[in-house]
């Protein structure tokens, strides 16, 4: 579906934010362009990929890590932040407290992740404008101050979702990463079958 482009790079993107602000729904909208009102907490595939075309000849592939619920009791592992190139920190515009939590996640990212990480703040549930508790200007000025990208989104309607991910893609160091077409492991590929597998399939 994507035309061959001259520049291509892959990046790890992590999602953060309080439970029920719509982290998974945002990704769902981005990856599958669908929305499920009664989406259960994340179970099963919490590792998705999606590409965006930044311009005619530049494609960025996101390798998206969902929290898998481990943020609920402050149990996210250092592994989650490891080598993350970008992060979407989500809050709910109808819950003022969720912005405070988002600010705490931004601090955590600055402590645990790469210095060069690109962070976007996403005020989700824009479709619930009548219940809004967080003014756009308040979040915008915080984002400016902290050096974050800022978007208000609706996973339900799809508004601004692609813009959010494209905005991040434009900020990423594509040229530096483009030389490695895939995140080629520095190490060994464990799934490669053993040269001397003897009896063949294992029945562990």
């Amino acid at each position: 579906m994507t035309t061959p482009s001259t520049r291509y790079a892959q990046f790890k993107l992590v999602l953060l934010g309080e439970s029920a602000v719509g982290k998974s729904s945002l990704v769902h909208r981005f990856v599958k362009d669908s929305f499920d009102e009664y989406r259960e907490s994340t179970i099963g595939a919490a590792f998705l990929t999606q590409t965006v075309n930044v311009d005619e000849n530049t494609t960025v592939k996101f390798e998206i890590w969902d929290t898998a619920g481990q943020e609920r009791y402050k149990s996210l592992a250092p592994m989650y932040y490891r080598n993350a190139n970008c992060a979407v920190v989500v809050y709910d515009i109808t819950q003022a407290a969720s912005l405070d939590r988002a600010k705490a996640w931004v601090k955590e990212l600055q402590r645990q992740a790469n210095e060069s990480i690109v962070i976007a703040l996403a005020g989700n549930k824009l479709d619930l404008e009548s219940d809004r508790e967080v003014d756009t200007s308040v979040a915008q000025s915080y984002a400016d101050e902290a050096g974050l990208l800022f978007y208000e989104t609706s996973a339900k309607s799809g508004e601004n979702v692609l813009e959010l991910f494209t905005g991040i893609a434009k900020k990423l160091p594509i040229d530096a990463a483009a030389s490695r077409h895939r995140p080629v492991p520095k190490g060994v590929d464990l799934s490669k079958p053993s040269p001397s597998s003897g009896s063949g399939a294992c029945n562990c």
């Binding site: 179970i43 998705l48 250092p78 592994m79 799934s191 040269p195 003897g198 562990c204």
Partner: protein
């Protein structure tokens, strides 16, 4: 937390995390708790602050040691066998998608005061300084036999009955010398002491074959190691568990284990909260009255600013000092790692020495290994007691894991995982292949 679960798991060590992952994938509702604020329990990798808190409480971390997060030091040093069971479990559960592995550059053994590479092929045996010319020929014959050996085909046993013959008798058949037996038994079969010599040979032969096949897999040594330290392993399996619905709570004290009138596990209490389940899995630290203390292990973490000359200045290595070589009953294990594995900052190396304690002066027991590492800029030394459960858990539904032992790899850990699984379910663990990222993507398309 205040709900009913199928399984409550206490402690986030590797054994617990693998089991938590397996049960979540099988559809069980799992609550996984750790009283610590980090993953890994005894099998965690520590950053600088955590290292100083543990070994030098109250002391300032020196500035010249670099950034906190550049340090990921294993509390229990081990390597994975490339063809071992943990690798198999990692591949089947596709936890490999979260962790990158690197080869360990070399496997070395100490003999007659010097360190040499463990030969793993006929060619290496011919070149090895470990053996004289005639012994090399005998070793070559031994390797030639192992290359044709198939565990399930007795016609490949060269007429030997490996279930009744002892390993000593097998060595005798090939005419191998005591010094050669030392490195085969201890640096290849990775036996901890010499009791294996009089036991049926099959287990040791299988271990040697595992070693050789592991070397054959990537070439340089039989060992692989996760970037950022072994602490990535429990984190990876915890993530697997969470993705399949497991609930994680760190920094959560367990104040009481609750039992019903029949003495069966019922749940746990943390502060005012109670979580219920019929089955509990936990590490020994949560059940001090249900475990017995066994051997004690000394582990020394040595920070170096140079590679280890004895192992060809490799960026990583294992050096085994067989017990006989230094007049001991237990081998001394040394692992060497570097910034290439993201466990120390650039230009630093890590030497980790461990052995089962035999005297009242354990720090002197590890001196032969320490000598190989000198000069050492920082040493952190600790002694750990190994615990094992008193009972199999069927009476009270509390299934307790064993401490991580002195072996240099994870084969005994995965044995414990399988053993606990069998005790709980009555069945052998059969891992279903989880789809890889690519397969998941294809299914979504």
């Amino acid at each position: 937390m205040e709900e009913e679960y199928d399984v409550i798991v206490l402690g986030t060590g590797l054994t617990e995390c693998i089991l938590s992952g397996i049960f979540s994938v099988e559809g069980k509702k799992v609550l996984h708790i750790d009283r610590n604020d980090h993953y890994g329990g005894e099998s965690a990798s520590y950053n600088l602050t955590q290292i100083f808190n543990k070994f030098r409480p109250g002391k300032e971390v020196p500035q010249d040691l670099g950034r906190d997060r550049d340090w990921n030091v294993d509390m229990v040093p081990k390597f994975l066998m490339a063809n071992g069971e943990l690798t198999n479990i990692l591949v089947h559960t596709d936890v490999t998608r979260y962790i990158e592995f690197k080869q360990i550059s070399g496997s070395y053994v100490y003999r007659d005061g010097r360190v040499a590479k463990v030969p793993a092929t006929e060619m290496e045996a011919i070149r090895s300084p470990l053996m004289g010319i005639f012994e090399k020929r005998r070793m070559k014959k031994f390797f030639e036999w192992l290359a044709t050996y198939k565990a399930d085909d007795p016609s490949t046993f060269q007429g030997m009955d490996l279930d009744s013959m002892s390993m000593n008798e097998v060595y005798a058949k090939f005419g191998l010398e005591p010094g050669t037996k030392d490195f085969i038994g201890h640096a290849m079969a990775l036996q901890l002491d010499d009791s294996y010599l009089t036991m049926p040979a099959r287990e040791t032969v299988d271990r040697i074959v595992l070693y050789l096949q592991s070397v054959a897999r990537y070439g340089k040594s039989p060992y692989i190691y996760p970037l950022y330290g072994l602490g990535e392993l429990p984190q990876g399996f915890a993530r697997l568990s969470a993705i399949y619905g497991g609930t994680y709570m760190l920094d959560k004290p367990v104040d009481e284990i609750l039992y019903d009138d029949d003495g069966k596990f019922m749940g746990i209490r943390s502060g005012e909260e109670v979580a219920k389940a019929k089955i509990c899995i936990g590490d020994p630290t949560y059940f001090p009255s249900k475990v017995r203390a066994g051997d004690k292990v000394i582990r020394a973490i040595c920070v170096l600013k140079h590679p280890v000359s004895g192992c060809d200045n490799a960026d990583s290595a294992q050096i085994i000092i067989p017990q006989n070589q230094v007049g001991r009953k237990h081998d001394i294990y040394t692992t060497v790692l570097s910034s290439n594995h993201n466990v120390v900052p650039k230009d630093h190396y890590l030497g980790m020495v461990s052995t089962v304690i035999e005297t009242n002066a354990p720090h002197l027991e590890i001196e032969p290994a320490i000598k190989l590492l000198k000069p050492i800029s920082e040493t952190f030394m600790g002694i750990a007691t190994l615990y094992e459960p008193l009972e199999d858990g069927k009476a009270d539904n509390v299934y307790i894991s064993r401490s991580y032992d002195a072996t240099s790899h994870f084969e005994t850990t995965t044995d414990d995982v399988k053993n606990i699984y069998r005790r709980i379910t009555g069945k052998d663990l059969v891992l279903k292949k989880r789809p890889t990222v690519d397969e998941e993507q294809a299914a979504q398309a």
